[in-house]
Every structure is written in C-alpha cells, then in structure tokens.
C-alpha cells in the first residue's frame, strides 16, 4: 500500500521489523502504524471485552485501538503503534487490551532535568511554531516542545503552503532558525504531560527509543523535563472525533484526518476505495488529498443538508458523489470493512471508511492548569475559557482550525507571552491561503433501533447501548456513566471517546451537552513510564547514603551496616566464623571488661551560642541547663508540647554563652528545625544563634575499664585521673596528635570517654586507637545491649510518641523548679496523670536462655482467654547479655513501675513465656563502674 512517492519517509533505507511473527519492512520516518498499513496489515488488536478485530484508527497519540506490545529490543507494554517510530529490529505484537512486563531488569538509563524559560510553547504545529517564532524574536528564553520527531504538526500531513513554500518546509526552516538562537530550546519527541501549580509543567523526552538496539547505553532512554515557565502557550492542536454508527469499530474505519496524514506524511494508502462520512469541510479537503494520492473516493456522506464550501465543489468536479443530508448507517465486513451502508439506501463497496464528527481542541493541559472549559455550540466542542495561571491556548487548541487563523493566533499568543519578560518586537504573521468554509455540524450519533454495535469507546468496547443501559439504571452524572460503562478509562483516556460519550449521555437524558459537562482531564496527558518518573533516583542513588569520616575503615574491616535514617552505621564487626550473636557477645565483653570503641559521629550536634542560650535551652529541655557549669556536661530530654518524649542527648557548656547540644542520629535535622522554630517564631527576642556542626566533628566513644589507660597513652597531655577528669565533664586536649574535645560521658555505664575531633581527623584518631592493639571496635547492636543493660532508653525504640519522661522512669530529668518548659503543661492532663500508664520496666524471662522477640506483648495470665486478650504492654528491647549471663528485655508495661517482682507472660509463637518484671536498670544499678 506504499505510494510510489511522496511523504516524509526515507525510501533509500529499509528497516526490518516483525509484527505478530511476520517479517516486514518499512522506512525511516515511518511509525509502526504507517509501516503496518504500508504492508497491508489491517487487524492490529483484539478488543478487550468482546474480542472483536480492531485496526488502526488514528495517526497520533489519541489512537484507541492499535495499542501494541513491544517485544524487542526490550519488552514494553501498551504503546500506541502510531507513536512508535520504526527502527531496525523492532519486534512487536498485537494485544487484547493487556500488556506484558519484562521478566528481567530494564537495562536502560533514565534521568530528569530542570529548565526555566520565559515562554514555553507546547506543540510545534503551525500555531506553536508561529508562537515560538514571535516570542523568540524578542530575545526571550523560549522552550518549544513537540511530541513528534520533526516539527510541523498538521503541516506534515497536509499539502498547505506557508509563506509560499510547502508547510513542512516552512516548519523545518522555522525550527532551524529557532534552534540557532542561543536562548531557544527546541525539544523534539517530547510530550508535555502535566501542568501543575505555578506554571510548573512536566514533559517526557524519548531520546533513544527510535534507535532500537543501537541506542547508546550511556544515554538516558527517557528524560523528564521539569519546566518552570513564566508564561505558557498551549498550541496542542485538536483531535478528530468519531461518529457512532453500527460497525464503526471494524478495521478500515479510520479518522479522515488520520488517513490524510498516512497518505501525505507517510506515503501510505490506508485503503484503496473509500467512503468519507463527515460533517465538516476539513474532511472534504482530506478526501481530496486522498483522491490525489490515489485512493478511489467512492462517496462523501455528509449529514449537512447542503454543504457548499469550496472543497465540496472540488469533490464534485472530480466526480465524487456527495450524499448531502445523509449518514452512514453501518459499516459491514468480515474482519474488516468491505461495504458501507448509507441512509440513502445505498450499499457502497469500500475497504476504507473515513469518519469525522468534527474536531476537539486538545484542552487537557489547559484544564490541568486549573483552567475552565466552555462548550462551544457552533463547533460542538469544549474550548478554553480562562485559567488562573499565566497560560493561553492558540490555534486549534482553542478552536481556531483554519491554517491562516492558527498562524495569526500563534503569532499573537507568542508575542503576548514574551511581553511579560521582554520589550515587544513586531513580527509579521506567516501567510497561508484563506479558504471560506461552511459551518461544521456537531454530529455524534447515527440513530438506530439497535445500538449494540455503535461503539463510543473502542478500547473499552463500550457501545451506545451500554451508555443507555447506564442512564436507564438511574445514572445522571457523566462520571457515573463512565464508571458504569468504563468508557474513557482505557489507555487513551478517552481522547477520541470522551466528548462522544458525553453527547450520547446528553441525548439520552434530553439535556444539552453544555449542561452535562465532561469528565476531568488528569495528568499524564499521555502514559509515562514508571522508570522515566523514577529517573536516576534508583539503587544507590535512591536516597542519599550518609557516611561518617570513618566509613572506609568500617568497610575495610568487615563491618555489617545498619540503616539509621539515611546513615550507614556499623552494626557489628563479625570475625571469621562468627554469627551476629557471637560477635555482639564478644564486643559487649570487650566493652565491659577491656576497651572497645564505637563510631558515634552520626549523633547530631548543634552549637547554641548567645547570652540567652541557657534560658533558651531551659525552655526546650525538661531539666535545667542554664545552671550547667562551663566544662561540664548534662543529659537532657526534650518533649513535644503534648508531653511526649521527642529527643534526648547530652549538652555540654563550652563557655558562658556557648552550649553544644547533641541529638539522636535520626532526629538531628528535626531537632535543629524544632529549635529554630521556637527561637524564630515564639521567642525571637532571645539572643541565641544555632549552627549545625554534626559533620564538623567525628566522634569516637572509647569505652571500658581500660579506656582511661588507652586514652592516657594517646593523650599524654591530658590528666585522665578520676579526680582530674570527673564524670560529666569535658576537656580540650591533643589526642593522637590531633586537637580534640574529650567528654567523660557514658552510654554504657562503663568508664568511657567520647573523643571529638574534626571529621578530617576522624580516621586518623580512629586508626591511632585501633593501632594500640588494645581496643575492640563495636557497632550499634553492642551499643544497644550495653545501654539496655543500664536501662537507658532509645528514643524511637523504647518510645513511640506516646511516652513521657515519667513513663521512662526518668522523673529525675524533669525539673520541678522551672515554671514552664515545652511539654510541662501536658504532664498534668487527665491521661498523663493516670497511674496505669505504660511505663518502662526490665523483664527477665524465667528461662534465662529464652530471648523474647522485640515487639512481643505481655499478658497477665498463664493461659490465653478468647480474643480480644487484654494486653499489658510490649517488649521494646531484648538482648542476650554477656554481663548478666542471660537474656533480658525492656518493656513498656501498664503500671509497670508498680509491678516490680510480678510475673507476667509473653506469648511467643504458641507458648506463653513467664517473665519477671524488674527495674529497667539491670546492670550495675549503683553506678559503680562509671569511674572505672
């Protein structure tokens, strides 16, 4: 069916492809659809519900039928054949409405890019090109995005001239001129698919698909453009709409404009003998072009009583029969159109039935912008009617269909859009021939007794009869009808069927279409791959991996890592042959009996500086910080106003007006934000500045009875004796030759030092510590065991947002002196005063070998009643303790502080494990070990 000449395909090269197992050839410039038509393939799909044969219906992204599966070079489901550029080696197959995902991983790359412009023009048809040209003439920054491989839009599929040259040549020259300008970007193969608030539009550029297997691996296959535009011109054109009549789904029924595009742009005859069924002059023009291309146009059937435009005259001149005032009543054929029946009683042999019920402006993006639409009775369609954003539609996208009008409209819109940024510059309007056209008729539905083969939504197999059944069931809203019938919900999202469905509903209900409205236009305008939207935020780049200055050492020394927020923290350091339990027992023993060290750099650190720093901290912490002496350290807890624990950590006083606050690893950013919020919005008069120094410092916890000796060796200038360097104080000193701030604090109960050096020096310090040969590295798991043995809670593990400091047995950290601090008022609410609140306790399983799973609940009785079983609390932390020689747990238990010594039961699997409630401090309750 390939014409001998014409079209924008490169006949000098042949591309081989396969469809449904058959080998075919095509040419560069073809789509899969045009190549299939050229090879005489008519049936390209099976309908989803009724299993009917379906052919190619359109020539663009609005295609409702020819949705195919790409098999090679890599499987991709559900692409309209009309949007697949042909490439060598393409293998595709037809579908029955459901695509297939690849089993293997997608090897392609994807990415995203931000762009900014004064004017974004969407669509490079005549109106869009004219708009971009006018805007660019002012020097404005312009982006012109178009979904086709070459600019021109409808000009590529027509024989119109612009400025005295063929339209496609004018488009190419205009695009070349635009591309030569430094502030203009022309994006081909780029579909703008979403229009969001504040003129934020998103587009997808298909960059390597058309190269098939030859696509370079380093290039992103698809790219999301995130465009922030000062002004937007939507020159998105129009979609031709079908007419509902019997058999209007047969292969061979095609939109008239699509057929013209195949003939003119792709050099393909979509059939040999055609009947045209249309109520507008544009379809007459299409019929003429097809006749010129070699199609035998048997008749034009036009419901208008007397279509008298120039095209009609030229059709008559050519001897084409014009059946005015008539309609097509049925398309007949076995598997494809073979004849066409009309209301005149004629049955016309034809293999092609071209339909045009008129044109719908592509208002999707306009609507998405928040714009309203108005039903225009004269052209029977929805047109833009005002948007809150800086946007206007131009050309066919706002119902201006004739070429001269599109060029003028685009030019005006482009100039107006640029004037927001640049001084105006007069631009001439590209010239095209005016043709006086007759008014179109909005024609939707051919009346019949039986509507079971009048299709409104081809892809969902929805017929007029289905719509009538929905309205008959009592449905009045077009949204309900859509959901009842599924019309408009398929891959094409109702591009050709939406308004037709509304019209059929309106007729059934006897209301005007305008009153009924239509369903909402939602992003994306065209389907977009998940991978494109994910971009490069995948795998290791999915979310930032934060590492400390010591990370390379941890990796080199076999650490396994725990994700804590975005951080990678060493979890434990297994030696050959060790499992986690063995490694942790060994690390714990080292900390309790010898010396061990942990990378504590991930703790958040905030410098709080200013004369009112003490007062500021007093307002946020539950305890008093202003009384802290310079050189000392204090533990503190922060609550939210509802009284629940938010974060904890140590505070050191560096100078009278300078505190250094540490936060938990996961909460560092939240705490800084929290402090800034109170400081800026509630207490702006406090003279305090906050500066994050989390990564300024690398922090090493040196723990164990031998830690003093190790530190003494590394810091000969530092007096480390228990009297010289008491618990909860800090010193500045050189450690391992590096200036350091050393704190005597302990999160394990053992004698311990926390050594802070600049993160540049962290590895140096750590290496020096390890080079002593005396120190065992330990990870977060061991840290958890050590602190749990001492009953120190972990915020987020032993608390869950419903726990007060009192519940944690930490009333000692709540100041009774301060008149107020954040959270204080909530401690006297009815619920927080209850004696039976869940409180932190220790648990000792009666069998010292039984390790309770964290999350296990506790019940009062040794046998379980029928559910719901009253629960007393749950296990928050549970470990095997080297120091205790047994397992133990921490738990939040109802009224737990009054239950010490009580026996409770923990349902584990099918058994009930008896446990004894104890104080949450299980190891060294006297605190004898902290001084070594």
């Amino acid at each position: 069916m390939r014409r001998d000449g014409g079209g924008r395909i490169d006949r000098s090269r042949e591309l081989r492809f396969r469809f449904d197992g058959q080998e075919y050839t095509g040419h560069p410039g073809d789509t899969l659809a045009s190549a299939l038509l050229a090879n005489g393939v008519r049936r390209v799909a099976t309908s989803v519900r009724l299993g009917r044969p379906r052919g190619i219906f359109a020539a663009g992204g609005e295609e409702p039928n020819a949705v195919v599966q790409i098999e090679e070079p890599f499987p991709e489901p559900m692409l309209p054949a009309t949007t697949v550029e042909l490439y060598d080696g393409l293998v595709a197959s037809s579908l029955a409405g459901q695509g297939r995902l690849a089993a293997g991983p997608d090897p392609a790359r994807y990415d995203a890019v931000h762009a900014h412009c004064d004017v974004l023009v969407v669509g490079a048809g005549p109106a869009g090109l004219a708009a971009a040209r006018a805007a660019a003439a002012t020097g404005a920054r312009v982006i012109l995005a178009d979904d086709q491989p070459e600019p021109g839009g409808s000009l590529l599929g027509s024989r119109d001239e612009v400025d005295g040259v063929p339209g496609a040549d004018w488009a190419a020259a205009t695009a070349a001129d635009l591309e030569g300008r430094p502030e203009v970007r022309v994006l081909r193969r780029t579909t703008v698919f979403g229009y969001y608030d504040d003129n934020y539009l998103v587009a997808v550029e298909r960059r390597t698909n058309h190269l098939g297997a030859a696509a370079p691996a380093h290039m992103a296959r698809e790219r999301i453009w995130r465009i922030r535009a000062r002004r937007v011109v939507l020159a998105t054109g129009a979609h031709e709409r079908p007419i509902a009549f019997a058999g209007n789904d047969l292969p061979g029924v095609m939109l008239a404009g699509a057929a013209r595009t195949y003939a003119t742009r792709y050099g393909v005859l979509p059939g040999r003998r055609a009947v045209v069924f249309a109520a507008n002059d544009g379809a007459h023009a299409a019929a003429l072009d097809l006749a010129d291309a070699g199609v035998d146009v048997a008749a034009v059937v036009d419901p208008r009583p007397a279509p008298g435009g120039p095209w009609a005259a030229r059709l008559r001149e050519r001897g084409v029969e014009l059946l005015a005032g008539h309609v097509v009543t049925a398309a007949r054929g076995d598997g494809q159109v073979s004849s066409v029946e009309t209301s005149s009683g004629a049955s016309i042999d034809a293999d092609l039935l071209l339909v045009s019920g008129g044109w719908n402006p592509v208002v999707h993006l306009y609507s998405q912008s928040g714009g309203t639409l108005r039903y225009d009775e004269t052209i029977g369609t929805l047109v833009p009617d005002g948007s809150g954003q800086a946007v206007e539609a131009a050309g066919a996208a706002r119902g201006v269909f004739a070429l001269p009008g599109c060029l003028a409209d685009g030019t005006g819109a482009g100039a107006r859009a640029a004037s927001a940024s640049r001084p105006a510059r007069p631009v001439d309007v590209p010239r095209a021939e005016e043709t006086a056209e007759d008014a179109p008729l909005a024609y939707w539905l051919v009346p019949a007794a039986d509507y079971t083969e009048h299709f409104v939504d081809l892809q969902r197999d929805v017929t007029v009869a289905d719509v009538h059944r929905a309205t008959g069931a009592g449905l009045r809203s077009v949204e309900h009808v859509k959901r009842y019938t599924t019309a408009g919900t398929a891959h094409d999202q109702g591009k050709t069927s939406g308004l037709l469905t509304s019209a059929v509903v309106a007729e059934a209900l006897g209301v005007p279409v305008a009153e009924l409205g239509t369903t909402t236009f939602r992003a994306p305008y065209q389907p977009v791959s998940f991978a494109a939207l994910a971009g490069r935020d995948r795998g290791a780049l999915h979310d930032p991996v934060r590492v400390t200055a010591l990370h390379e050492w941890h990796v080199a020394n076999g650490a396994l890592f725990e994700n804590v927020g975005q951080w990678k923290r060493p979890w434990y350091y297994p030696r050959p042959g060790e499992d986690m339990e063995a490694a942790v027992l060994r690390e714990c023993a080292a900390a309790r009996e010898g010396v061990a060290a942990m990378d504590a750099s991930t703790l958040g650190k905030i410098d709080v500086i200013g004369p009112d720093a003490g007062e500021f901290l007093d307002r946020l912490y539950t305890n008093l910080m202003s009384s802290l002496k310079v050189g000392s350290v204090r533990y503190g807890v922060m609550c939210r106003p509802d009284g629940m624990v938010f974060d904890d950590g140590t505070v050191i006083r560096v100078a009278d007006d300078h505190f250094l606050v540490t936060t938990t690893t996961g909460n560092a950013a939240a705490v800084l934000d929290w402090m800034e919020e109170w400081l800026q919005t509630e207490w702006p008069w406090l003279r305090v500045h906050l500066t994050s120094v989390t990564e300024q410092w690398a922090t090493v916890a040196l723990v164990g009875p031998g830690s003093r000796e190790v530190l003494a060796g590394l810091a000969p200038g530092l007096a480390v004796g228990v009297d010289d360097f008491p618990f909860m104080t800090w010193r500045e000193a050189e450690v391992a030759g590096v200036p350091a701030r050393v704190c005597r604090i302990s999160f394990s109960g053992e004698l311990a030092f926390e050594i802070n050096v600049t993160s540049w020096d962290g590895l140096r310090l750590w290496t020096a510590i390890m080079d002593t040969g005396l120190v065992t590295p330990y990870g977060t798991e061991t840290m958890h065991v050590l602190r749990a043995e001492k009953g120190y809670p972990i915020v987020g593990q032993d608390t869950d947002g419903t726990v007060t400091p009192h519940d944690l047995g930490m009333s000692w950290v709540v100041s009774k002196k301060k008149p107020d601090f954040v959270g204080k008022r909530s401690f006297s609410r009815a619920d927080t005063m209850r004696a039976d609140r869940k409180q932190l306790v220790g648990l000792l399983p009666e069998d010292p070998e039984v390790l309770l799973p964290e999350g296990t609940h506790l019940v009062a009785t040794g046998t379980l009643p029928e559910p719901p079983v009253p629960m007393l609390g749950h296990v928050t932390s549970s470990y095997r303790s080297a120091a205790l020689g047994r397992t133990f747990a921490l738990a939040l238990v109802r009224g737990g502080q009054g239950r010490h010594g009580e026996r409770l039961y923990a349902p584990v699997g099918d058994t009930l494990v008896p446990v004894t409630v104890t104080s949450h401090v299980l190891y060294d309750p006297e605190g004898a070990r902290r001084d070594g």
């Binding site: 809203s477 919900t489 991978a531 999350g855 928050t876």
Partner: protein
C-alpha cells in the same frame, strides 16, 4: 493472540441502581456527604434501626469524593485495640457484604503485606502482628523469603538501598471495587426508602437553642431532626458553620493507575518506609498510592514530585514495573487528626453527629463506620466500638496514636 483478560469477565452492574431526586422540605435524618460512609450510614440506619426518612446530600455526584479516588485497600491489622476493634468489625462485615447487598463488589481477600525496611520497622511489625493475634485479627510475620513466596515480584536482595527485612501479612485483607461498594450501598439504601440528592452542597448547619434543626443548601433549606456529617475532607468547612472547631487538617492525597497488564502481582504490598502501596486490580491495572502532601489544601490534586518519589520507591521494591506506564493520576482530600485516628460521635450540638478524620483509612472502614455511626445517630450515644474515637480524647490526652504505630495508616 493473548488470553482473554480478566476484564472480559467482570460482572455486570444491575439494570437499576438508584435515582437521585429533588429534596423534600424535611427529613428525620439528613446525612451530609454521599460517600461510602454516608451511604453505609444511611443503609444501616434503615436496615438496623428502621429509620428510613433519610436524605443523603451530596455536593457533587454520589460517591464522587474520596470514595471514587482511593486505592481500595481493606485491612484490619491496626496496632491499637481501639482501631483493631472498629476495623475488624468492618472486615467481618466486608466478608458478608456481597451477599448482604446483593451486589458484586469484587471483594478479593488476597492479603496485604506491610514491608519492613529497618530494624525498627521489624520491631514495629512484630509488635503489630502480636497485638493483632491477641485481638483476634489474623496476622503473620514473614521473613524476606516468605515475603517473596507471597509476592514473587518483590525485590528482596540485601543490596538495595532499603532492603526488605520482613513484613507483616494479613491474609484476610484485600481490595474491593470502590464504585461498586458505593453503588451497592446506595441501591440497597434506596430500596429501603433512603433518598439521594446530588449537586446539593450544604452551605450551613441550622442550629437553634443548641439543637440542630436542619441544613442550608445550594438547593434550599432542608429541615432535619438529626444531621450526620460524613463530609470527609470538607468536614471542617461544614462544621464551622455551626461554630464547631475540629482538630482536623485537610491534605491532598494522590494515587495513580497503570495500563492493564497481565497478572504479576497477587497481593497488596505496602511500605511505609518508602511511601508506596500497590495492588493489581481485577482488570490488570496497577493501582498505587503515595504519601500525602505536607501542606493543607482542598485542591483535589497533589504535587508532582510526590509522584516522582513514589515511582522511585516503587521501582526499588518492584524493578519489574520499570516500563509500566502511569495512565492517570488523581488526588483526593483527606482530613487528618493529630493522632491519625478518626473522630466519631456526638458534638456539642444536640442531634448533630460527627464522623470524620479518617485520613487515609476511610474506605476500608466503610461498613464498620456505617454500622457504628448509624447506631450513634439512632441512639444518640456512641456505639461501643466508636466510643474511643470521641472528640474529648484531645482534651484528656487519651489519644489513639496510630502515628506512633505507622507513618501512614493506609
């Protein structure tokens, strides 16, 4: 040719559903909002309590709000006893609802997996499973290998950014078709005499001497002995007309579907850590939800970067989805309370009842809420299962803090 897709075998709708009409001047009960909750409440008012002089007012089209926009996940595996109580009641009703309503709801108990990606997720997951079991809610803890058995397409490699460390599984959980549920209730309620008034926005609540007397609407005033609010994201706006402030904030919540795909995904997978939840509907489309927008908004659309992040998260869990396509995105407006649990019960105004704050959990609760709220309206006292969800809890502090249990309560 490929096999006939399951879409070919979907059940037909009945030939008669309901008809929305003109409002009368007065009703015994006016329900504000014809979403799932409003419709279910109307149905149970009529069926359980014999109250049939009821109008359900809807500002748009019936069930066109969040009911039409949610991702249809049904589960009852909530942490706290109070939540488990009402959601499990709902799930039990779901299990008999197709027969009850004589309507195909495509209720499919395919199970819901909640994945754990950190040690804390594991602790929280085990805690929830164990609480569920003691509350009589079916739940299991699965290790990564078992996760893979339930859903073979989940990536469980330890090498990804946030590896799957296990998951909770509720086998009785699943999905249903949202529209069918709404229509099933509407049809059944209509058969019992309930009236539906569409395109009828309530612009004010009429209160006299501390008692509700009716509502003002865009279609005139309607007298009512009792008024039950089921207006989801717009509850604050309606309640404010009676001078009632509520601890609610309304946020956009987005969801999306893919094209129809051959079956690959046999269950429902949720991951709070990476903010994604996904199932494959009966016709074959992947249905996915994202997190809520941070800022309050009544715009029924969300921000695009949330979709992008959701896709990145989805591909970490399901690399097989790479070349699936997003067909359509949309947003609803959810009303969220400070503790992420609903408010159901009485108000300071006699005869005015409140059902709101369901956030992202509203759909799955539909039968349970309808049942309990109808009881509340009929008896002027909270149903025992709804009693913990009083407005008063914000004063006493006895919150039902599902935030603490999960970042999102989908």
């Amino acid at each position: 040719m490929s096999p006939r897709p399951p879409g070919a075998d979907l059940p037909d709708h009945p030939d008669r559903l309901w008809s929305a009409g003109e409002p009368k001047s007065s009703y015994d009960v006016v329900i504000v909002g014809a979403g799932g909750h409003g419709l279910a409440t109307a149905y149970y008012l009529a069926r359980n309590h014999g109250i049939t002089n009821v109008a359900v007012l809807e500002r748009g089209w019936l069930a066109g709000g969040n009911m039409a926009r949610n991702t249809t996940i049904i589960r009852s595996n909530y942490l706290w006893d109070e939540s488990a109580g009402i959601y499990e009641h709902a799930l039990k009703l779901w299990e008999g609802l197709e027969d009850e309503l004589d309507y195909p709801l495509l209720f499919s108990q395919r199970g819901v997996l909640n994945l754990a990606h950190s040690l804390q997720d594991v602790r929280d997951g085990v805690r929830r499973v164990e609480a569920n079991r003691l509350n009589g809610v079916d739940a299991e803890w699965l290790d990564p290998r078992q996760v893979k058995e339930v859903c073979p397409i989940v990536e469980i490699s330890p090498d990804v950014r946030y590896p799957v460390m296990g998951g909770t599984f509720q086998p009785r959980a699943g999905i249903a078709k949202h529209d069918y549920v709404a229509w099933g209730y509407a049809r059944a309620a209509a058969a019992l005499g309930v009236e539906f008034i569409e395109n009828c926005e309530v612009t004010g609540l009429r209160v006299s001497d501390g008692r509700i007397t009716g509502v003002d609407t865009t279609r005139g005033s309607i007298a009512a002995g009792r008024v039950a609010l089921c207006a989801a994201g717009h509850t604050s706006v309606v309640a404010a007309t009676a001078g009632i402030d509520l601890p609610l904030q309304s946020h956009p919540l987005q969801a999306l579907v893919s094209e129809l795909l051959e079956p690959v995904h046999p269950t429902v997978v949720m991951s709070n850590a990476v903010h994604v939840y996904v199932s494959q509907a009966h016709k074959g489309e992947l249905v996915m939800g994202a997190g809520i927008d941070a800022a309050n908004s009544y715009r029924q659309r969300g921000a695009f970067h949330i979709i992008e992040r959701q896709m990145a998260a989805a591909l970490e869990l399901f690399p097989i989805f790479a070349r699936a396509h997003v067909l359509r995105t949309w947003g609803g407006v959810v009303d969220v309370t400070p503790d992420a649990s609903p408010i159901v019960g009485l108000t300071p105004v006699d005869g005015l009842y409140l059902n709101c704050g369901w956030g992202t959990g509203g759909f799955k609760a539909t039968p349970g809420v309808g049942w309990c709220f109808a009881h509340t309206v009929a008896h002027d006292e909270p149903h025992p299962l709804a009693a913990p969800f009083s407005l008063d809890r914000f004063v006493t502090g006895a919150l039902v803090d599902e935030h603490g249990a999960a970042a999102v309560a989908h």
